[in-house]
C-alpha cells in the first residue's frame, strides 16, 4: 500500500481492492496461488504494515496522545463555531433545534477528549478561531460551512482511526466518528446536497489535508 503522503487523496486499501479491476484480479490471483492467509500477510508486510505495527507498539502511547489531541483541536474548532451559530439568531424552528443539538454534541466531545488527553499526558490548548467571513455571509454561508466542518471532522476521524494503538481509545474515537457522520449527512441533506457525497465508502483524509482545511478558520 502506498504510504499516506498527505498531498492528495490516496485510495484506501479497500478501494484498491474493490474498484481497480486490474489490482483486484492481480490480488485474487496471488491469493489463489499461494494460499489465502499467507498471501494477505505477504501483502501486508510488503506494504510495510508489520513494520509500522512494530514501531507503533514501541511509542503507542505517544501516537495515541497525538491522535486524541488532533481530534480535540477539531472539536474545539467546531464547538467555537456552533457557539457562535447559537448566539447568531440566524436560525429558527427546525434548523435552530438541529444546530442546538449539534452544539451540545460537540461540547460533549470536547469534554470527553480533554479528559482523555489529560490522562494520556496532556491536552492541547483551544486554538484561536475566526469565523467572521462565514457569518458575514449570513445563514446560507453558515449552513454550508457547518456541512463543510462536519464532513471534514468525519473524514479526519476516519483517516486517524488506523493509527490508534489502544483499543479503548479506538472505541472512543469510533463513538465520535459516527456522530460526525450523522451531522454531516443531515447538514448536506439540508443544503440540498447528497447525504453520502462519497457514495458507499466514506473517504478518509490525512492529517495534513484536514489541517490545511481547518487552518482557514484558525487565527
Amino acid at each position: 500500500m502506498p504510504p499516506r503522503a498527505g498531498s492528495g487523496p490516496v485510495p484506501t486499501a479497500l478501494e484498491q481492492l474493490s474498484r481497480e479491476p486490474a489490482s483486484r484480479r492481480r490480488f485474487m490471483r496471488e491469493l489463489a496461488g499461494a494460499g489465502a492467509l499467507a498471501s494477505f500477510a505477504a501483502l501486508l508486510s510488503s506494504c510495510g504494515q508489520q513494520k509500522v505495527k512494530q514501531q507503533s507498539r514501541a511509542n503507542g502511547a505517544a501516537v495515541d496522545r497525538e491522535v486524541i489531541n488532533y481530534a480535540l483541536t477539531l472539536e474545539f474548532l467546531e464547538a467555537d463555531f456552533y457557539k457562535r451559530v447559537t448566539k447568531s439568531g440566524l436560525f429558527s424552528g427546525r434548523q435552530k433545534k438541529l444546530f442546538d443539538q449539534i452544539y451540545q454534541n460537540e461540547l460533549a466531545h470536547v469534554q470527553a477528549l480533554k479528559s482523555t488527553a489529560k490522562e494520556a499526558g496532556g491536552a492541547v490548548a483551544p486554538p484561536k478561531t475566526n469565523f467572521d467571513t462565514v457569518f458575514a455571509g449570513g445563514a446560507r454561508s453558515v449552513l454550508h460551512t457547518a456541512a463543510k466542518l462536519e464532513n471534514l471532522g468525519a473524514a479526519a476521524y476516519l483517516g486517524a482511526a488506523r493509527e490508534v494503538t489502544n483499543a479503548q481509545v479506538l472505541a472512543s474515537a469510533l463513538s465520535i466518528h459516527s456522530i460526525e457522520g450523522r451531522h454531516a449527512g443531515v447538514l448536506n441533506h439540508v443544503i440540498g446536497e447528497s447525504f453520502v457525497p462519497d457514495g458507499a465508502l466514506a473517504t478518509p483524509m490525512s492529517r495534513d489535508e484536514v489541517l490545511s482545511e481547518a487552518e482557514k478558520f484558525l487565527v
Binding site: 486499501a13 481492492l17 460533549a108 469534554q111 470527553a112 480533554k114 490522562e119 488506523r162 472505541a171
Partner: protein, 199 residues
C-alpha cells in the same frame, strides 16, 4: 488491535466514560466492553462475515421497500440512495471475506413483518437497522487485527451513520440518539436482527 493491559486501558477510559455519563448516553456506552475484554475470539474474516450478514439484510430491506412501499418524494429518493449504498456494501464485503480467506455467506431468507405497510412503518424499521448497523461496526472495529480492514469498516460505518441520521431527520427525530454512538457486541446485534432472519 492489541489491548495493552487492564490498568492503562481502564485509565484511558475513565475520563471518556465520565463525559459520556454526564451527557446521559444511556445504558450502552461507546465500548462493547464484554467483547473487548473477552477478545471475541473471532478473526477478521469472521467479523467481516458478520458485517456482510447485516448488509445483506439491509440491502434486501431497501431493495424490496423501494418496490413495495408507497414512498413520497424525499423518502423515496433517500431510500433509493441508501439501497444503492447497501447493495455496494454487500459486493465490497463479499470480496473482502474472500480476500481474507473465508467463504462469503449471502443467502438469507428475510422477512420484515408489517414494516412495508406504510412509509412511517418503513422509516421506523429503517432507523432501527441503521442505528444497529452503526453500533455493530463500532463494536467490531476494535476487534479487528488488520488496519486496512479497520479502515474499510470505518468507511462503511460512516455511511451507515449518514443513513441513520437522515432517516431520523425525515421522521422528525433527534439525528443523534446521544453525543456518542454506542457499541454492541456481535452477539447482541445478531440477537436484534434474528427476528427478521428466517434462514
Amino acid at each position: 488491535m492489541s489491548v495493552e493491559g487492564t490498568t492503562r486501558q481502564a485509565f484511558l477510559a475513565r475520563g471518556f466514560l465520565a463525559a459520556v455519563a454526564a451527557y446521559g448516553a444511556g445504558a450502552a456506552g461507546p465500548f462493547a466492553a464484554q467483547a473487548l475484554s473477552q477478545g471475541a475470539g473471532t478473526n477478521d474474516s469472521g467479523i467481516v462475515q458478520f458485517a456482510l450478514t447485516l448488509e445483506v439484510l439491509e440491502a434486501t430491506y431497501y431493495r424490496e421497500a423501494v418496490k413495495q412501499v408507497k414512498l413520497a418524494g424525499e423518502a423515496r429518493s433517500v431510500a433509493k440512495d441508501i439501497r444503492d449504498n447497501e447493495i455496494e456494501h454487500v459486493s465490497i464485503l463479499t470480496d473482502l471475506v474472500r480476500s481474507l480467506g473465508g467463504t462469503p455467506k449471502t443467502r438469507q431468507n428475510a422477512s420484515f413483518g408489517n414494516a412495508y405497510k406504510s412509509e412511517a412503518s418503513f422509516l421506523a424499521l429503517a432507523q432501527t437497522f441503521e442505528d444497529t448497523g452503526v453500533s455493530a461496526y463500532n463494536g467490531a472495529g476494535p476487534l479487528l487485527q488488520s488496519p486496512d480492514v479497520l479502515e474499510a469498516a470505518g468507511q462503511i460505518v460512516q455511511t451507515e451513520a449518514r443513513h441513520a441520521a437522515v432517516i431520523r431527520y425525515l421522521r422528525g427525530e433527534d439525528i443523534t440518539p446521544a453525543p456518542f454512538d454506542t457499541a454492541l457486541s456481535m452477539k447482541e446485534v445478531l440477537g436484534m436482527v434474528k427476528p427478521y432472519l428466517k434462514g
